[in-house]
Amino acid sequence: MAAVRTRGEVIRHRLSVTAVLVILLITLAPIFWITATAFKPRNLATTMPPTVFFEPEISPFVKLFTKRSQLREPPTEEVYNAAPWWEKTVFDGGEKVVRSGRGEVQPSGYPSRFLNSLIVAITSTVLAVSMGTITAYGFSRFKVKGEDDWLFFILSTRMLPPVVVAIPMFLMYRAVGLNDTHLGLIILYTAFNLSFSVWLMKGFIDEIPKEYEDAALVDGYTRMQAFFKIVLPEAATGIAATAVFCFITAWNEYAFALIMTNRRAQTAPPFIPSQVGSGLPDWTVIAAGTFLFLLPVAIFTFLLRNHLLRGMSFGAIRK
């Protein structure tokens, strides 16, 4: 990599590095803002100009996970001293944690919404990727009558914005009782992601030399065994890349989740901003919810980063 570079090239190189840094800063700024707000005391969250240096608190997260109500008057010293440390942070903010008659803390709606998001995103990703891989394998390896037309048809399902069909989908779902169910959202997200998954996986599988399967066949395996023992491991990179994209789409989906669910199967995206409406907007709690919501995607992408990098340049190098 030590090719000779002219002065012009050095300058251009420095300029592009600067440009990348600037773009990186712009991209990271909102994430920094959300993270900072998630740890701010409530009164510092909305100051103008924004507070940059502050003493981080955990209270937004305590509030995120509990049901609270406004305090009309400050708690008595006795109550305050008896409260555990995390409850004190809520008292300090002028609120109190709602407890049942037997003194149990009432959780907020967030944990169950978060769990719903996980269930729906993971299941629909697994479904979309596995169905997409098998479909792509079929298109890649066998002569399918009208192959190009089928592939175009599959792609065309992505051509209009999904929200366009939101109302009819809502009516259909209500008729068959899929409203506010996990299954309903899983079917919806799988359908969204499937076309994308087929196309992406077809690209990856096309790149796997057919000879590997031919070799497995003459080695005495059936085509199905060859698929599982050879094609799947070889396509791991593509599967990882496709899974990340599908997971992100399903995880972040907002519009349909808002329309189709309201309680039992509601995912985190429509829930987090819904807290704006209850009492005065508490931006620190919204930021805390968003912050936690970012983590699974970040972790998932981080774990698959090597596959992703290979996936992006897949097929660019011929051995």
């Binding site: 070799a215 066949l217 003459v218 050879i230 791991a236």
Partner: protein, 369 residues
């Protein structure tokens, strides 16, 4: 004990007739090489024998049993691919053990078999490596090892050393020959390299445009090509060919290259033999290998005068280009025999190694002098 027999095999890719009525019997332990240009149907024929391609009509028998309708995995043949097709995600050991695992071989036996074959191929030290960490020659050894572990009924090889560099190819050629002598498995080998074919084959099968042209021992195919295609495809440098006319001349025969003023003197028996195959005045093509062309630096009786044009020194011998009439011919001479381009030379032909072909059909007249 595996004989492979093909009876009237046909296959089309759309309108393209890839395999045109091919019939052939490969005897047990025989090493047969399919030789032809790319696209001549040799690889398709090999894949059809393995079961990787279906055929439109005809019969394929392996060990006497028709297999044209059986699946690949039931035919029990091994296939070595041009690009080796080693599984990149498996180690060398696992690659070689892969066929054994298909038939659920006990673990201990897998271990011993793979190690034994690896030792034969001298890759015992590489068993824990991934294919990506191997050199071309070692990749090829592993690919062959994967084919050998199972004791298959037949070994089918599709240009197995075609992607190696020239020097390695020569080494591997010898190794393949040695392996075949030791293992004695029925082998069909596909190549477009006629030197490889000559060096390896018990019998060569020359294919062109889906049709078998000639089947025979390498020396036989080299010495007695049945048509112009085989004549020009087998041998390096290629056989000289030139359109000629035949005439009687002073009690002998005279073969004159088109556009030339002088002709080569041939025994008069030639005229009779040509007449026996058809009209003597039909267009004929003369074929003569460079080593059957003799050059002298002095005039000789019956020799055609010309001058050397290009000289290729190849170390052990030279190849000298010269023009006679409309044709450019080449002769093989001792190294340094012709001192330089432009030197006058006199050309005679070795009659016993000259071939005459019918220009219209390309078939040999089968003349022996």
């Amino acid at each position: 004990m595996t004989q492979i027999a093909l009876h009237n095999i046909n296959k089309h890719f759309g309108a393209f007739h890839v395999i045109n009525n091919v019939s052939l019997t490969v005897e047990d332990t025989e090493f047969v090489v399919f030789l032809g240009q790319s696209g001549c149907g040799k690889t398709t024929t090999l894949r059809a024998i393995a079961g990787l391609e279906t055929i439109d009509s005809g019969e394929i028998l392996i060990g006497g049993k028709p297999v044209q309708d059986t699946r690949v995995e039931e035919r029990d043949v091994a296939f070595v691919f041009q690009n080796f097709a080693l599984y990149p995600h498996l180690t060398v050991f696992e690659n070689m053990a892969f066929p054994l695992r298909a038939v659920r071989t006990p673990k201990a036996q897998v271990e011993t078999t793979v190690r034994r074959v690896a030792d034969v191929l001298q890759i015992g030290g590489l068993l824990n490596r991934r294919p990506s960490a191997l050199s071309g020659g070692d990749l090829q050894r592993v690919a062959i090892g994967r084919a050998l572990v199972r004791n298959p009924k037949a070994m089918l090889m599709d240009e197995p050393i075609g992607s190696l560099d020239a020097k390695l190819r020569e080494e591997m050629r010898v190794e393949l020959k040695r392996l075949h002598v030791e293992q004695g498995s029925t082998t069909i080998y596909v190549t477009h390299d006629q030197i490889e074919a000559m060096a390896l084959a018990d019998r060569i099968v020359v294919m062109h445009a889906g049709v078998l042209q000639q089947v025979g021992a390498p020396e036989d195919v080299y010495a007695n090509p049945v048509n112009l295609f085989v004549a020009q495809f087998v041998g390096s440098p290629v056989m000289n060919v030139a359109d000629v006319t035949l005439a009687e001349d002073a009690g002998g025969a005279r073969v004159t290259v088109a556009g030339a003023t002088q002709g080569f003197a041939f025994p008069s028996a030639l005229l009779g033999q040509v007449a026996a195959t058809g009209p003597a005045n039909r267009p004929l093509t003369l074929g003569v290998r460079p080593e059957a062309v003799r050059l002298t630096l002095q005039p000789a009786p019956g020799a055609v005068a010309t001058e050397a044009h290009i000289i290729e020194p190849l170390g052990s011998h030279d190849i000298v280009d010269f023009r006679i009439g409309d044709a450019t011919l080449r002769a093989r001479t001792k190294a340094g025999f012709v001192p330089g381009p432009g030197v006058p030379v006199w050309v005679t032909l070795d009659h016993s190694r000259a071939h005459l072909f019918d220009t219209a059909t390309g078939q040999t007249l089968g003349i022996r002098l």
